[in-house]
Symmetry: C2
Subunit: 234 residues, 2 copies
Amino acid sequence: MHHPKALFFDIFGTVVDWRASIAREAESLLAPRGHALDWLAFADAWRDEYQPGMEAIRSGRAPFARLDVVHRRNLERILPRFGLAGLDEATRAELNLAWHRLDGWADSAPGLLRLRQKFRLAPVSNGNISLMADLARRNSFIWDAILGAEVAGDYKPKPRVYLSACEAFGFAPGDCAMVAAHAGDLKAAKACGLLTVFIPRPNEHGPGKGEATPDAPVDIVAKDLMALADALGV
Amino acid sequence: MHHPKALFFDIFGTVVDWRASIAREAESLLAPRGHALDWLAFADAWRDEYQPGMEAIRSGRAPFARLDVVHRRNLERILPRFGLAGLDEATRAELNLAWHRLDGWADSAPGLLRLRQKFRLAPVSNGNISLMADLARRNSFIWDAILGAEVAGDYKPKPRVYLSACEAFGFAPGDCAMVAAHAGDLKAAKACGLLTVFIPRPNEHGPGKGEATPDAPVDIVAKDLMALADALGV
């Protein structure tokens, strides 16, 4: 693979462990209020609403709304299922911010630090700007810019999101690589002309429940972000 | 003044010294090619096209184009005046990137480093994302996000630019402060409900040719970004 000038990162699942983090945040907010539930199942249920929640926007049936708003709509949908229909507004709002408090996988911060020596780095995530900024502060990620859905005004895997990221850095798509733990994301990026890097996160959805290998052709497979830095000679 | 949660920075003139930097970059590119001219006058002439160059976009007569494109159009306009009408395309393109190589004022990097301990920081500049990213790398500025004209799709002082920055961080305008060396910028930000901080850069356009005091009411005047950190108790 010819070396890219910029690396774009999927965030949820690829750079941060949303599942354990959401379970922990939900428990720490709700357990002291007397709620007992399967916290990992709660995280999974919330995340299961993620793709359907964006689909109305991607299809053009609904105007763009940032992911904080979509997460909140999705939360409303699952609360009754977990006996939380009576949750007050302030707690709902606070719970929705759990997505701003996700922890990176162990290799994420040190891997990004190395990769930044040689490449422009940006999240190209469906997460909104303030969510990405909060994750960056929490995990000491240093980005060159926050790109992705909010800047593009649409959601991955729509081509506009990948292409607007390339344009923002002033690079041709072939000089940019999308890094993700999801083959679907990489397939869409490749169709736009970007290089593709697959990082397996085999436990993303629970032990053994993640994409261990990409089910689509990609340019590089690296076992984590440190291995990617090795592969790119940083 | 009640303390803001986010500080938004004007960049050209406020955080970086465009005049000495453009003069230096133009000289280092063109002098070896046999051109001799008044480099500071060249920088001033280029900058003088700045506001008129954006006005067609602000007024809606022309579609949005990022500042790199506007800078290039403005460059074409002034080249003949400096005997540079024969400059080849590659040199013009390289010269246009001089705006990506501006140096911060001496207080900028250390001031921003202190301010970041307590506040979300973002440029809210008319400069485009890749230009801001290059200045950040060059000067070791660490931003929480790059906001401003390219994200808003319009140029300051249009209200959309200030308001979209507040929205991107999820803060009310009254929880955000615009920091600038230009009263006009601050007047427009105040009209949108933002707090305002004036930083005098009395030599921005040459010795004694800059705004030494604001000709509009502002919430804070601080002599530089270190003094602003003092004033905000960081």
